[in-house]
Subunit: 430 residues, 2 copies
Amino acid sequence: MFIKKPSLKPGEKHIMIVGGGFAGLNAAKRLADRPGVQITLIDQRNYHLFQPLLYQVATAGLNPADIAVPIRAQFSKARNISVHMGTVHSIDLKNKFVRVGEPPIELGFDYLILATGALHSYFGKYQWEDFAPGLKTIEQALEIRRRILSAFEYAENETNPAVQAALLTFVIVGGGPTGVELAGSIADISRTVLVKDFTHINPASARIVLIEAGDRVLASFPQALSEHALRDLNKLGVEVKTSSRVNEIDAEGVRIGDLKIAARNVFWAAGVQATKLSKTLGVELDRAGRVKVRSDFSIPGFPDTFAVGDLAHFEMDDGKPLPGLAPAAIQAGRHAAENILASIAGKPRKPFRYVDKGQMATIGKRKAIAVLGKLKLTGYLAWLSWLFIHILYLIGFKNRLVVFFEWSWSYIFSKRGSRLITSKDWKLGA
Amino acid sequence: MFIKKPSLKPGEKHIMIVGGGFAGLNAAKRLADRPGVQITLIDQRNYHLFQPLLYQVATAGLNPADIAVPIRAQFSKARNISVHMGTVHSIDLKNKFVRVGEPPIELGFDYLILATGALHSYFGKYQWEDFAPGLKTIEQALEIRRRILSAFEYAENETNPAVQAALLTFVIVGGGPTGVELAGSIADISRTVLVKDFTHINPASARIVLIEAGDRVLASFPQALSEHALRDLNKLGVEVKTSSRVNEIDAEGVRIGDLKIAARNVFWAAGVQATKLSKTLGVELDRAGRVKVRSDFSIPGFPDTFAVGDLAHFEMDDGKPLPGLAPAAIQAGRHAAENILASIAGKPRKPFRYVDKGQMATIGKRKAIAVLGKLKLTGYLAWLSWLFIHILYLIGFKNRLVVFFEWSWSYIFSKRGSRLITSKDWKLGA
């Protein structure tokens, strides 16, 4: 078998990173221009996506390009990083190569950082996806945007009141940050943005239902903040149903036990699973398909291979898994990179210590909850912190300017910049 | 048959406008808040598109939302305009109704303005569309963008030099403004934007070929300006082949007589035809399917029905057809609206007189040609005029700001804001 590698100088090592999300991108940045290493960063997309703001694209607040940057452009000046766009089909940990691209080629590595992230899980109910898209990719955000905006347009033309009501009912399954932010933002767009523009319907009357299987929304936050968020959601007119498990989703709506909710718009924000690649590794996975890793992020039995970010199951000292948050992924990516450099230099690796930067979630346009260290924030102040931090962590000065401008504009004029219903089909046909 | 109409006050007339492009939108604006008329504006999209800048979306310079505005938002304050998103399937001119939507309903009118525009024509070779998308819609612009950016990515990974060369060859068929602007912009992005970001290929070596069947590019401009544009294209490294007719397009490239050009990227900017709706009317059409109209834009035999914009064939006093330019469509839309108001008021209609505002086309980032009245401009000055006029005519203060910002940014830093390869498929699959 011919396994391709980049041309290396004597003594140089080839580090391969699969995945250009928070973990992979920051691993590559840490390795940029370090002596003795050549890096190949592989991603199936040509861009790094700032996933925490994806719901803003789904609700017509931001353009896809505002929250995504070409991976290549991040490494224009790094002389030891080569970016390779392609899908990795499988990985041979023992013989140290990946199969990538179409037609597939074998690419060899000395060290590997796996960071392909997570996708939604429908708990085996794949057929639900058609009726309830998730929100993990730009394509899904545009699909959700298309559905939301189209629903108001169809309702405007509809004469059957029952159908009209179903068109104006939005159900979000899953009360984590994504579900709460999506529900709040749909409430916001219907109450303040669209309300001026229709003749036959009142967009502000749209029904928005947030369904959570657990006993409270935003369960990863302290109880008091969850309760605050619940009150904020209610003020925005979002119906929150906790301790409610969805039993069925179809074209007519959702069913929770005996309760049927007629809804033409259902969105999925419940449950994640690691990307499929983890199954090709032949190593121990947790129930969500995540790779169980050691305290240095290496995969047991394969000390030169690391898994980080949402793909990895990393157990902290308290026995809890490292949370699936951007700061944790960034820290993990950097740490794996440093451990590789340590091994190459013949130094011992360091176990990972998570620095908890806190977490936050917005509820509509002016409310949020946030835990920042020991500080607990709610309401307007939390929202301002959220705003500041999200603009700060966006990659690229230009994106920061653009998002700041878009948000200021939307805040002042209650308008949204991207209210376009685009379709999937580009062909005109015969 | 039940034909629906909006509820009208006694004496009020229902004016229907089909199409929210330059002609239809400006007809509606002219009729907004005029007494005695209710207007229904129908479009299959929810947005008005500034088509002259579509090539900027195709070449990653602008976001779709930068050149499109929701039609509804234009008429939030007009009390007599109702916007209806839906596809018009056919029109019964005699019984004065349109069939629109899914399932179709019949909507009646007293007066009708048809403004559904034009699409590309492949001269019967429908199978070429797969290999050579045209540039009339946002979806097509995103498809072209996807192909351009993907070609460089695939070339970066390709080891076969012949395939690599074909991947880096871009053929544009049609030397009108769209073809010239697309070719110039692809040259620009490959020479200045992408050139910094690749390891294995030199994007600046991309071959860009512009094919024109006539004996010069931009044939609607004076001969001297065409020649100037040709020199500018050559300076950018665009090969221009005039008097060349494409005989075949397939996955491998294009054939012109005996000459084969191996190219994985072919884009179509040759030939337009009126939208299909014109064929349902049962009236006289020209060879491009456009409706032949009288001097007041009414359709012969149907004095209450008007066709304007690219859907109409309007013969000027010199026997030439009204050109397919935005200013002509805007003037036509307004004129038809005024003639309807005149008829309702019992006044005579006025024949249309075209006020020639000139025309312009850009060649890459700093060059253009322009005819403005008796003024002929080339080079940098023409480009500045082009910039100023295109920003001025964009709808919405915000879009003007955003486009001004994007262009300044791109001009200063040689970067493009929208370098995302997005796909059509949003589903993750099982």
